[in-house]
């Protein structure tokens, strides 16, 4: 049984297999060591020690339990990635509950729909510190732990309910093809498998300073917050605003003396390009991990040249499986070929569907299923020789050296800036606007921008919906990363003989448009002044 091999020594005792156990252990062993560093609004650093983090989280957990929170109740965290949010994560887990991170910048409608779906008992929200905690059933509020409480009694600590390793620890909501986000339920064991492996593989320890700009609602963030707790490393929170100015990210990595970085490739690419990462040195930076989308070979080589001493690794796996394969950047990597997604992690078993080339992933890190969607869950898995595999939808091939290579998708899911997007969800959003009769979306590769999403819409009458109105409508329903780059107004959406949307034809139009748009992008070429949209007979942009 693979799951036996990878449990830590001493795991016969209940200690050690829950995500909160690492924090309990580390806080006892090194209470004064820094757990979290967060820059506040005026640029001052707020440092929280392991002792403080555990005390705060455990006190809050006790408060939750006193309030009547039961094991497996959901606690929704509508919070930016902050010290308070991380306290809330561990408080939920210590109370035996399941945390559901929801990005506070998602549109209200989406936040509400997600809350309605996961039916949390508590909602923790608010921009400022401290956050507000509300009982969603009764409307009562629970006070935040304002000042550091007195050390909590061991007996009280021990009275906290204990989840089982196979119980859900968190639910991550991802784009759903039918227009409704899907909740991926992950157990303590599933996330723990990845955390423990990455700690060992990359030799993470208490001197490490880990940074990961991904929000809590993104699976990458299980790496920094749980390795912090597991290894006693410091989690240095990346200031939100820096993603708009890659040179601030580069400055952050330098000044915060980051030793281990984990992000989507797009962010690293912007640090290399606009942030001019190669102009500086990063003597302490020893591990750079990336996941979530394809990192162009040339950029991987640039990264290696910019930070030559760091070990780079490509981690692969959808939210449903977390990381299941990985590939270290070879020392002599020249960037002429894409980096493989590599070989399976020790806790994972992967295989390839011989007919379709689809990668199937099994092992300890697998999700428990989709929240509240038994049919989708059933469809997501396939059993082979009594083992459960998740159908990734990713088409792969296998190189003679055993490495898997990513070839593309079998469905209409795309990755843009590392975010996973179901094109169907964009279509549903657009079509929900009055006067939009039909919508279809395609993704095209744009050398400089990465993946661009082009939506085609047919409106009730010409000019019934403007480009700005259509985009604003999307932004009210979808997270910003899902708003299409371009919206093209068509008199008719091309259809095949059976009346189905002809996405191949649309892709061809999109590529032409993209070509036209890049050639028009030169500054100071004002568009001809003839109204809101430039309308050609069939296509009006």
């Amino acid at each position: 049984m693979p799951e036996r091999e990878f449990l830590e020594p001493g795991s016969d005792e209940p200690e050690g297999d829950l995500l909160s156990d690492g924090l309990r252990r580390t806080a006892a062993a090194m209470p004064d060591a820094p757990a979290i560093v967060e820059q506040d609004r005026v640029g001052e650093n707020r440092v929280t020690s392991f002792g403080e983090l555990f005390e705060q989280a455990a006190s809050l957990a006790v408060r939750f339990v006193e309030h009547g929170i039961q094991k497996q109740d959901r606690v929704a965290l509508v919070l930016p990635k902050s010290t308070d949010a991380i306290v809330s994560v561990f408080a939920s887990l210590l109370a035996g509950a399941v945390y559901v991170p929801i990005h506070p910048q998602w549109p209200k409608e989406r936040i509400e729909a997600t809350l309605a779906d996961c039916a949390p008992r508590l909602v923790i929200e608010g921009d400022g510190s401290p956050p507000r905690i509300t009982d969603r059933e009764t409307g009562e509020s629970i006070p935040w732990i304002a000042a550091l409480a007195a050390p909590i009694d061991i007996a009280v600590q021990n009275s906290l309910p204990r989840a089982d390793a196979g119980d859900p620890a968190l639910i991550l909501f991802t784009s759903g093809s039918t227009g409704r986000p899907k909740g991926v339920v992950l157990s303590h064991r599933a996330v723990g498998a990845f955390v423990k492996w990455s700690a060992r593989e990359f030799h993470l320890c208490s001197t490490d300073r880990i940074a990961c700009p991904s929000p809590l609602s993104f699976d990458l963030s299980t790496f920094d917050i749980f390795n912090m707790a597991w290894c006693g490393a410091t989690c240095v929170l990346v200031p939100d605003h820096s993603v708009w100015m890659p040179r601030f990210l580069v400055q952050f990595v330098r000044e915060a003396r980051i030793t281990c970085w984990y992000s989507v490739p797009s962010i690293l690419a912007s640090m290399l390009e606009e942030g001019r990462m190669a102009q500086h040195e990063y003597p302490g930076l020893r591990v750079i991990l990336f996941a979530g989308e394809v990192f162009r070979g040339a950029d991987v080589a640039r990264l290696q040249a910019a930070v030559p001493q760091a070990v780079g690794a490509n981690l692969y796996g959808p939210t449903e499986t977390n990381v299941v394969t990985w590939c270290c950047v070879p020392r002599d990597f020249d960037g002429s070929q894409p980096l493989p997604i590599g070989q399976p992690c020790p806790y994972a078993t992967v295989t390839m569907d011989a007919t379709s080339g689809e990668l199937l992933a099994g092992g300890d890190s697998l999700m428990s299923g989709y929240w509240n969607r038994p049919e989708d869950t059933q469809r997501a898995f396939v059993n082979l020789e009594d083992k459960r595999y998740y159908r990734t939808g990713d088409r792969v091939s296998r190189a003679p050296d055993g490495n898997y290579l990513f070839l593309g998708r079998l469905d209409r899911q795309v990755k843009r800036r590392g975010f996973r997007i179901e094109l169907g969800e964009i279509e549903t959003a657009l079509a929900s606007r009055e006067d939009i009769l039909e919508a279809a979306a395609v993704a095209v590769e744009d050398g400089k921008m990465g993946t661009a999403i082009i939506a085609f819409v047919r409106t009730r009458s010409a000019g019934a919906v403007s480009l700005i109105e259509a985009k604003a409508h999307c932004a009210r329903i979808l997270p910003l990363y899902m708003v299409p780059d371009h919206i093209v107004f068509l008199d008719a959406i091309p259809k095949g003989s059976r009346g189905k949307i002809d996405y191949i034809a649309l892709g061809k139009i999109a590529e032409t448009l993209d070509h036209i748009s890049t050639s028009q992008a030169a500054p100071n070429q004002a568009a001809p002044d003839h109204g809101d949209q430039d309308r050609s007979p069939a296509v009006h942009r």
């Binding site: 640029g43 604003a472 070429q525 002044d529 949209q533």
Partner: protein, 95 residues
Amino acid sequence: MEIKTAVRQFIAENVLLGIHQTTIEDTTPLVTGGLIDSIGMIGLVNFLETRFKVEFVPREIDVHSLNTLEQIDELIRKKLASQQAGAAGSGPQIR
């Protein structure tokens, strides 16, 4: 050139291809209205720095300071004024 006009032109030509400039109002939400995403923002910030010869420091830019043409105009004016006064700030240090 007036700040808003220059920014409006930049957005129309580089971010919202094909749209007529005047349809972007001074108060049209650019970020929260889905017109500019994070990559578009990197381009816009680059443009502002180059075009107006200003240099932003960490924490100066966020969704509240760059969401509309009006806010961008105000931010750039403030930057230019403080640079003229020789009082350009320096970024906070991260420990």
